[in-house]
């Protein structure tokens, strides 16, 4: 048992003794957790027994529901006013609808405050609105450049590369060999968004909630993005499965992706073992940010929960007990957004899939640079419109500026409408 775990248990025991004054503390408590992925279910099953030792009166019930339906279900329980679970894993892509009206989620600001020096607070912005933080992310989800080290070495390109300009220049020989240095999506917002955050933009909104989809900075990044596609530095495949296929054939030399993408690669690109490594993203300018963030899933507590304290105690155990986070890392390469965990030996261990590189070292180095982003209740509307704008611009139907201006106008219209 690690020291961290011992301390964790001690803290929990203390907090339980403190709480023992109230009449309900000794009663049996059942905490229901809704989650969407087998990898989260596996985590909860893995730590359940340990938690029973710490909190014998608490029973954890995990209900795994497919992604889309979980959140439709949750919405239904909020409308109905009954039936919500205590804890929900809310994925970052669907949080915004739950920030509208009177959120059915408990603000966690007071709970996270003791950890604010250790927890990477940039990740809370995804789940925050008007000062209230509604979710604590499982993972850091830093974005790096995954690349074929053999292809880069053959072409005499030394990694890591400092800036995107240098990347474009250095990878020119690859294009001549029929290998695309990079792959970027032409019909969704994801890759554009990662690069947008890396460029220093807070995304589709500023921190006051104003629409900045058509800000000069955002337009410039999209113009640059189109430039990569037009010059052949990047290709777009239209379909994720084609991207996997081309990567397997060695026709794509690098991709940008988050920590969990390493897990996807092991699953979907198993025969690529040993061929890939990871590097910081090339910066937009010398000394600029070398990472971004993409994805994430947060622990949330619903206002319908009758046991919010117990719910937070469990989240605290799952989230801040180092052994548990290491277990979670082993299950799906989800990196803890907690500075004191990131230097754990298990995370720093060489990864055979990545040519025995220590991805953990890279992530540890980049963690403090994970950019801030502003979201709020209109983010889903924004991402839908921006996906269309990216498509229109890549198809040449509109200029980057026009596409983003139209998207921003429509977004403002939708926000006015309410």
């Amino acid at each position: 048992m690690s020291i961290a775990r011992r301390i964790g248990i001690l803290l929990l025991l203390v907090s339980m003794l403190v709480g023992a004054g109230s009449a309900t503390a000794q009663d049996d408590v059942t905490l229901t957790i809704w989650t969407f992925g087998a990898f989260f279910t596996d985590l909860y099953k893995g730590i359940e027994a340990d938690y029973k030792e710490i909190a014998p009166h608490v029973t954890i019930v995990v209900e795994e529901i497919p992604y889309v339906q979980l959140y439709d279900n949750l919405q239904g329980t909020f409308v109905a006013g009954v039936g919500a679970p205590d804890i929900v894993d809310i994925e970052q892509g669907v949080i915004s609808r739950f920030l509208k009206g009177e959120p059915g989620l408990v603000p966690l600001n007071d709970m996270i405050t003791p950890y604010e020096d250790d927890y990477i607070m940039a990740k809370t912005a995804l789940y925050a609105y008007e000062g209230a933080i509604y979710g604590i992310d499982h993972c850091l989800c830093p974005v790096v450049l995954y690349y074929r080290h053999d292809i880069f070495a053959d072409a005499g390109i030394e990694m890591p590369i400092a800036t995107w300009d240098e990347f474009i220049e250095a990878t020119a020989p690859l294009t001549e060999q029929g290998i695309s240095p990079l792959v970027l999506d032409d019909r969704s917002w994801g890759d554009y968004y990662m690069l947008l955050l890396q460029s220093g933009s807070p995304g589709f909104f500023d921190d006051e909630g104003n629409v900045i989809v058509d800000s000069p900075g955002n337009i410039a990044v999209l113009e640059w993005y189109l430039g990569l596609l037009e010059s052949g530095v990047a290709i777009s495949t239209g379909d994720w499965y084609v991207t996997w296929g081309l990567r397997a054939e060695g026709k794509i030399a690098a991709v940008i992706g988050a920590d969990w993408h390493a897990g996807s690669m092991k699953n979907e690109l198993a025969e690529g073992a040993g061929l890939w490594r990871a590097a910081p993203l090339p910066a937009f300018e010398e000394g600029g940010s070398r990472t971004s963030t993409f994805g994430g899933t947060a622990y949330t507590i619903t206002t319908q929960s009758e046991h919010p304290e117990e719910a937070w105690a469990f989240i605290e155990f799952a989230m801040f007990d180092e052994d548990n986070k290491i277990l979670e890392y082993h299950i799906n390469n989800l990196l803890p957004p907690i500075l004191s965990h990131l230097d754990n030996e298990a995370l720093l261990a060489p990864d055979p899939y990545f040519d025995n590189q220590s991805l953990g070292e890279l992530f540890l180095e980049l963690a403090p640079e994970v950019p801030f982003q502003a979201r709020g209740p209109w983010w889903n509307e924004a991402s839908t419109l921006v996906a269309n704008a990216v498509f229109e611009a890549t198809q040449g139907e509109k200029t980057a500026e026009q596409a983003l201006k139209d998207a921003a106008d429509e977004l403002r219209r939708q926000i006015d409408f309410g």
């Binding site: 809704w34 969407f36 992925g37 087998a38 990898f39 279910t41 995990v62 209900e63 795994e64 529901i65 497919p66 992604y67 889309v68 339906q69 439709d72 279900n73 919405q75 239904g76 329980t77 409308v79 109905a80 009954v82 039936g83 994925e91 892509g93 499965y241 084609v242 996997w244 296929g245 081309l246 397997a248 054939e249 969990w260 897990g263 996807s264 699953n267 979907e268 690109l269 198993a270 025969e271 994805g295 799906n332």
Partner: protein
């Protein structure tokens, strides 16, 4: 022109067309079967293989070991059987009433019935869902089965079949003192068995494949049906393509069997329905 030759040419063209369509329709299915024996990377190959390079059964093994296929298969089967049985009973009973009685408001009520088929699920989805939560039917098989159990389609269909039942038979039973329910149960129902067979296949298929409603109603893993579990195998962070294909293939078997067993009656039954419509 030689008549037999024309006929032979016609036959060749007809077979050619039928087989062309058959192959077009079967290709995705056959491809799916092939994919169940492949590793993920082979599924993604840009020049796909019809015969797997190194066929293996790992997807099936994982389906049973990791995803508890047998459990979810039984859940689906239980719901489908109960739904089918209850639907056959309620639809044939109402169909009998519409076909064999005259009563005030009959035409109006029948129009309402037709109209109910036109209400889009998504229009009422949220209110319906809230209602089911409030009634405490969420996370129960009752919540899956009850709202759709007396579907209008089945009643409409059974009405068409029941009309073919001769009135004289019913009247002579009445003279013998049989109750109306007994007339329905012992006289009318056996005569429309073919139509019931048709409706059984359609109802079983609807329930077995139902995706949207069980997905929101059933939360506990132990209760979930096959389509729900299959949907959970794909999301942004993890995809189990080979396992999904294996699950999909195995889940077609029950309906296929039912179809094969009932198909002779199936066609006879549809005929009865169509004669009188």
């Amino acid at each position: 022109m030689d008549n037999t030759l024309t006929r032979r040419a016609q036959r060749t063209i007809a077979y050619g067309f039928l087989f062309f369509i058959l192959i077009s329709m079967a290709t995705p299915f056959v491809w799916m079967i092939s994919n169940t024996f492949k590793e993920q990377y082979e599924i993604f190959q840009l020049r796909p293989t019809l015969i797997p390079e190194e066929p293996h059964l790992r997807n099936y093994v994982r389906l049973f070991a990791e995803f508890d296929f047998a459990r979810h298969f039984l859940n689906s089967a239980f719901i489908a059987v109960v739904h089918t049985a209850a639907h056959l009973f309620l639809a044939s009973l109402a169909g009998f009433a519409f076909a064999k009685y005259n009563f005030p408001l009959k035409n109006f009520l029948f129009l309402v019935l037709l109209g109910s088929m036109m209400v889009p699920l998504y229009t009422i989805f949220i209110p319906l869902f809230v209602l089911v939560i409030r009634l405490g039917l969420v996370n129960s098989y009752a919540g899956v089965i009850i709202p759709g159990v007396a579907g209008a389609f089945g009643i409409f269909f059974m009405k068409q079949s029941m009309e073919a039942v001769p009135n004289e038979l019913l009247d002579s039973a009445r003279i013998d003192g049989a109750t109306e329910f007994r007339i329905y149960w012992q006289i009318a129902l056996p005569l429309v068995r073919p139509a019931l067979a048709v409706l059984a296949v359609l109802a079983f298929m609807t329930s077995w494949n139902d995706f949207v409603w069980p997905l929101v109603v059933l939360r506990s893993r132990e209760l979930q049906t096959l389509p729900v579990v299959m949907a959970g195998m794909r999301n942004m962070y993890r995809n189990e393509h080979g396992v999904v294909m294996a699950a999909s293939l195995l889940s077609t078997i029950p309906i296929l069997l039912l179809f094969l067993v009932l198909q002779r009656q199936f066609l006879a039954g549809l005929t009865v329905g169509a004669v009188k419509s």
